[in-house]
Amino acid sequence: MDAALAVDRQTQVAFLLRLADDHLILGHRLSEWCGHAPMLEEDLAMPNIALDLIGQARALYHYAGEVEGRGRSEDDLAFLRQEREYLNCLMVERPNGDFAHTMLRQFWFAAFMHAFWESASTSTDETLAGIAAKAVKETAYHIRHCGEWVIRLGDGTEESARRLKAAAQVLSPYLDELFDGDEVTAAISAAGIAPDPAALRPAFERTVSRVFSEAFLDMPVPAWPQIGGRSGRHTEAMGFLLTELQYMQRTYPGAVW
């Protein structure tokens, strides 16, 4: 709990919720593929990744609830907040699109998170360091799995290359938000709790350029970066996503299984 001394509680909770929300929302998006993947093998692979993400989210919500000290459980935080209270980046809430779109988004997110977790595994916050140590292995597999798909789609057929290129174009405006900083990230990185997101860019670019060169894909230049999720300003897709995500807890409050 040394970390709690270095930054105020509200900042620490905001930091943890941003991270947890990224993982819950992307895990939920990925779970939408369950039963709809192009082949059985991928129908298991994508929910496997989704479960890794939701497992990471659970650990983070549980910890955020503890730090907050208002008695909110991981379920309360995951299911019973309003849209504007979710602090995930916009990329993770965007609809899945086609398979190339989903794989590229997952690859980018994993490339970012792997650098993040690697750095966070030496965090001054021991709980976060513990979560990071487990997550870094899971994320390494996500990079490998999704990266291999990106290579095969890019270097596959004319159709697959066209779809992957289109996905890169559509997703590129949401990339900068991952590296965006504000007073929360500044305080957290100054306290040695987690890396400054902007500092992760070189590692991210190394991972991406290795795969993109094999996929014959150029890194697109976004026309205009889209940001807002970190302060609760979401895209139109978020409300629909939450309606489905929260349905059970809203309809049967307190339901457990």
Partner: protein
Amino acid sequence: MTRNQIPLWEVFIRPRNGLAHKHCGSVHAADEVMALQAARDVYTRRGEGVSIWVVPSAAIVASDPEHKDENFEPALSKVYRHPTFYDIPDDVGHM
């Protein structure tokens, strides 16, 4: 689709060090790298193994079911090949 463009691979998993890889099923995948990943995702979700082999199904040479009588029936009448005719001393223990 009139022809299958994605090859089939047989999957072998070694549950623990010291044991042999055991056939556990098959996956579809475009190449060997993807086949290993698919095998990992399909067959090791509950901690089933420490090592995976994948082999192109097409590389497996199988005995012809029509030859099963001549292949296997001659062994059936040779019960003396089973090591059940020997008394094992008690101090040898479990074999």
